[in-house]
């Protein structure tokens, strides 16, 4: 089962990073995020699975698609990959493979508990009590962070005064 989920998560992610068409990349990543939500459901973390569907599959993908469409360029202006880009891609894949080899070796060399017991039971009520009790301060900080981030995003993306829409300032 986990191998199937891994296939569902990793193959669209790798394909998304390889595509040259940005819309295809975004849609493939939606598939990968949905696979992650399926993994969370399989692990017994239902609340996180639905949060993943709402935030990533619903919201972040829409924001990404809007950004892609707002910054769309002529397809014929997209330059074919030159030598520098090929060199950069090769170095990036090499770096990622090295990092993956190190982490994978560390994981395989670590003795981890083999027995998979019953999944821990966590009802939404318990989760709410945790969030409002022990983690109430963190919840307030996250709320403030979200507010500040959204205001900052509006300030960054808003057109500057005196700039004509669609023209050079």
């Amino acid at each position: 089962m986990i191998l199937l989920l891994a296939l569902l998560i990793l193959v669209p992610a790798a394909a998304a990073m390889l595509r040259r068409n940005l819309v295809h990349s975004a849609l493939l990543l939606v598939l990968s995020w949905a696979g992650l939500a399926a993994f969370y459901l399989w692990s017994g973390a239902e609340f996180v699975a639905f949060a993943q569907v709402l935030v990533y599959v619903g919201a972040v993908s829409m924001v990404v698609l809007f950004a892609v469409l707002l910054t769309r360029q002529n397809p014929d202006r997209a330059a074919p990959p030159d030598a520098a880009a090929r060199l950069r891609a090769g170095a990036a894949v090499l770096t990622a493979a090295a990092v993956g080899a190190v982490i994978g070796h560390a994981i395989l060399a670590t003795p981890l508990p083999a027995a998979a017991g019953a999944p821990p039971v966590l009802t939404v009520r318990q989760l709410g009590l945790e969030l409002m009790g022990r983690h109430a301060g963190s919840l307030l900080v996250i709320g403030a962070l979200l507010t500040v981030a959204l205001l900052g995003a509006v300030v960054l993306a808003a057109a500057e005064p005196g700039e004509k829409p669609g023209g050079k300032p």
């Binding site: 986990i2 891994a6 998560i9 990793l10 992610a13 790798a14 998304a16 990073m17 940005l22 990349s25 990543l29 990968s32 992650l36 993994f39 969370y40 692990s43 017994g44 973390a45 609340f47 996180v48 935030v55 990533y56 919201a59 972040v60 924001v63 990404v64 950004a67 707002l70 910054t71 360029q73 520098a84 950069r88 170095a91 990036a92 770096t95 990622a96 990092v99 993956g100 994978g104 994981i107 395989l108 981890l112 508990p113 998979a116 999944p119 821990p120 966590l122 318990q126 989760l127 945790e130 969030l131 996250i142 962070l145 979200l146 981030a149 900052g152 995003a153 509006v154 960054l156 993306a157």
Partner: protein, 103 residues
Amino acid sequence: MSPLHLCLLLSTGLFCIGLAGALSRSNAILVLLGIELMLNAANLNFIAFWRYGPAPSAGAGVVFVIFTIAVAAAEAAVGLALVIALHRHRRNLRLPEATRLKG
């Protein structure tokens, strides 16, 4: 090999795909998506340790993942606003050409 090993290897694979994408692509949106993939790999680790860990606590892993998802959503909003600002200033999204801080 225990299920925890498999989950950790899966998250390693996801992290490496995100890392390779973020390092190799020159389009700003794809770099941001690679970073999102790496954050998702971290979330996967939290859930794996919550489910199969040696000392399962009540809900610490799930609470951590909820906070991480909130931070990732804020990061995506600010990052895509930066992408739109970059596009307004330079008319393209190629990061190797965006070498000046002052527009």
